[in-house]
């Protein structure tokens, strides 16, 4: 009974300190949330449903003309029944032309929502881009502000200029149509003067490009007749068929086996060189990032906590979370008996505190960490991290953390 008594003590102590452990919202809280959500959502939807927006309103200028996409202080919230989920809470990064930008983070940290915001595919009405901007530059050098772009204009960008590859290809292929039909449709939709014959040729060419040995046969197959790896190839072929400027790959290999993953990664690398496009690669696997990416963005609970070139992140990580993440993956070199592990769990971005989000899991936390959210500290032109320990030009050295454990 010792533990139960201890628990009672904890409860009492908590009650005195005003810590509330109850799991469920009261009816009153629930009503209040509901009312507030409705008000906010109505406001955003009204803004979105305006007709005939003049082009000037969503034309803009890039900060750096070498970028395809620039996110600036993007906030995307979900107004859910249990409260406001701040899925993306101030995200700033660039996707340069012809480069691979890897976005890493654990599940629920806002990787997918960031990419969906770029595609204007955030699940409305509860999901809304609240503030910030996403600038996109098309191949003629015109810059658009995606957050203000009307829906019909966005249709032209989606699929043609920016293509997306998902984790589970089966859910994004329609099971009742043949692969060929679905691929042709994409081409016909986006190329103004395409004939069905041209579309077919293009589809076969793309299937060939992604290394499918018998394109004719696959062209006439239904999605369920293909294996997971083949489906992912088809998805990539489809994404490529309009020679997009940016491919968003959301966990493209998570559902695949290791040997198939190796095939697909090889293919993606190959394809990138062929079409000279950029890739935004979303994954939780640091190994995949190390192999594929030029730039890395590490996200945690809706914010970027560290970004830099792949070498900077892997050879000289600054943020305790990045360091912890790298060390918690066992590798052949793991000599000590115990694996390093970050305690606690990934927070759900509701009611986030106003101090460092990593505070309760961080084993290097200092006093100020519980008081304010750390600013981004710049180390080099490309490398920055948000941690109080880094404030004086990166005081922290990686080795001391190792000794502590």
């Amino acid at each position: 009974m010792g533990l139960l008594d201890k628990w009672r003590q904890i409860k009492q102590a908590e009650a005195e300190q005003g810590i509330d452990h109850t799991m469920y919202l009261t009816l009153k809280e629930e009503r209040r949330i509901s009312r507030e959500n409705n008000r906010i959502i109505r406001q955003f939807e009204r803004e979105k449903n305006r007709k005939n927006v003049p082009e000037e309103e969503y034309l803009t200028k890039m900060r750096d003309p070498n970028n395809v996409v620039e996110f600036e202080n993007l906030h995307t919230y979900f107004f859910t029944d249990v409260g406001t989920v701040k899925s993306v809470n101030g995200v700033t990064f660039d996707i340069p032309q012809g480069k691979v930008v890897g976005v890493v983070g654990e599940s629920g940290c806002g990787k997918s929502v960031t990419s969906l915001s770029l595609m204007q595919l955030v699940q409305a009405p509860q999901g809304q881009i609240v503030s910030g901007s996403i600038r996109y530059q098309d191949r003629n050098g015109k810059c658009y502000e995606i957050t203000k772009m009307p829906r019909d204009k966005m249709l032209k960008v989606r699929g043609k200029e920016i293509a997306m590859i998902f984790q589970e290809p089966m859910t994004s292929l329609n099971p009742v149509f043949k692969i060929g039909e679905q691929m042709d449709e994409v081409v016909l939709l986006h190329e103004e003067d395409a004939t069905p014959k041209m579309a077919r040729e293009r589809s076969l060419e793309m299937l060939n490009l992604v290394g499918i040995a018998d394109p004719q046969k696959v062209y006439n197959n239904y999605p369920h007749e293909l294996s997971g790896g083949m489906r992912q190839r088809v998805m990539i072929a489809m994404a490529l068929s309009c020679t997009p400027r940016l491919i968003i790959a959301d966990e493209p290999t998570t559902a695949l086996d290791v040997t198939i993953q190796a095939q697909i990664l090889e293919l993606l690398r190959d394809v990138k060189n062929k079409i000279n496009g950029s890739i935004m690669l979303i994954t939780h696997d640091l190994g995949v990032i190390a192999e594929m990416a030029d730039y890395v963005v590490v996200m945690y609970a809706g914010r970027i906590i560290e970004k830099g070139t792949v070498r900077e992140i892997f050879h000289n990580p600054k943020h305790p979370y990045t360091i912890g993440l790298m060390r918690s993956k066992p590798s052949g070199k793991t000599k000590d008996n115990r694996l390093y592990s970050i305690k606690g769990q990934v927070p759900n971005p509701i009611n986030m505190p106003n101090h460092c989000y990593f505070f309760n899991r961080c084993d290097r936390a200092i006093e100020i960490c519980a008081e304010e959210y750390p600013e981004m500290v710049q180390f080099t032109d490309t490398h920055s991290a948000a941690c109080h320990l880094c404030r004086n030009g990166g005081l922290m050295d990686t080795n001391s953390t190792k000794e502590q454990r």
């Binding site: 904890i10 908590e14 919202l25 629930e30 249990v82 927070p347």
Partner: protein, 355 residues
Amino acid sequence: MIEKEKAAEQTISNINQEARDGYEQHFKVISPGRMVAKRFFKSKLSIAGLYMIIFVFLFSFVGPLIVDVTWGYEELEVFKIERIDDMVSTADFKGPDGKIYTYYDKSQTLVYFKAPPSAEHWLGTDTSGFDILTRLMYGGRISLTISFIVIFLETIIGVILGGLAGYFGKWVDQLIMRIVDILACLPGLPILLVLSATIKSIDTIPAEHRIYYMMAFLTLMGWTGVTRIVRGQILMLREQEYMLAAETTGISPMHKIFRHLVPNTMPQLIVSATLGLGGVILYESTLSYLGLGVPFPRAAWGSMIALADPSKGQEILAYYPNMWVPAGILIVVTVLGFSFIGDGLRDAFDPRMKR
């Protein structure tokens, strides 16, 4: 002493720290029960259904009490209300010339029953001088009670047999499901009619007991549906990993069925029971209409409608809608109410409805 206290404080704060930075979620969610309620109340139809059923319940169970308190009478109080009524009698006869003639006579008589609606008797009185409104209340009591008992029994039988069939499969399943098939393909209404008529003709069964036999038959006809639902659900749930886990821990089959499987069929059971309630009320009314249910002078909605039976003359059907229309409306309201609630619950339980 103080040191000891300090040490204790230290431990508590340590544990506290552990709890906070450990594995605690620090946001609140909506409990699953309330989630269901929320989805249920989102539908206007389910709310309408709820109001309908609440009305019928209050009417049937609280209504009689109010009548008793305010006017001091019950179901079988006979009111003789004198009133002059036009009485028309006609008769056809063949004249000597071979043509048909009609004899027609109009006179005024004194009647005591079939009073029209009035301030004392809102819906008037019926052919026996009973107050119709009061009888509607008592009729509702009987209908609702019967349907709840029948559904309860059906569900118990269905859960047990469906649970066994779904879990053990093989010959147990074969046996139970073949019985179900046989029962389900019997035409329900004709059999009920025959059975009720038989019971009616057996003199040793007192009239008051007929209702129990009727309930037994209704149950017998109804359990098959529940059994099918439970079996289907269990076949599906059996494939879940937690059932494999239960198997590896080696707990007994009875525990597995009734602690792991059956509780998870609850949503489906609640929905099917709610939808079933309406069905039983309809059955019961039909039987009462045919004079095979609750025996006179006890009230039942079905037998109240039966007063208007056209084969016994058009008079009540044509001139006294106050005697049978309210009973019909109540039946419709109750059956619809249960259907609306059942549908609402089904949508509320279905996680695909979750936004």
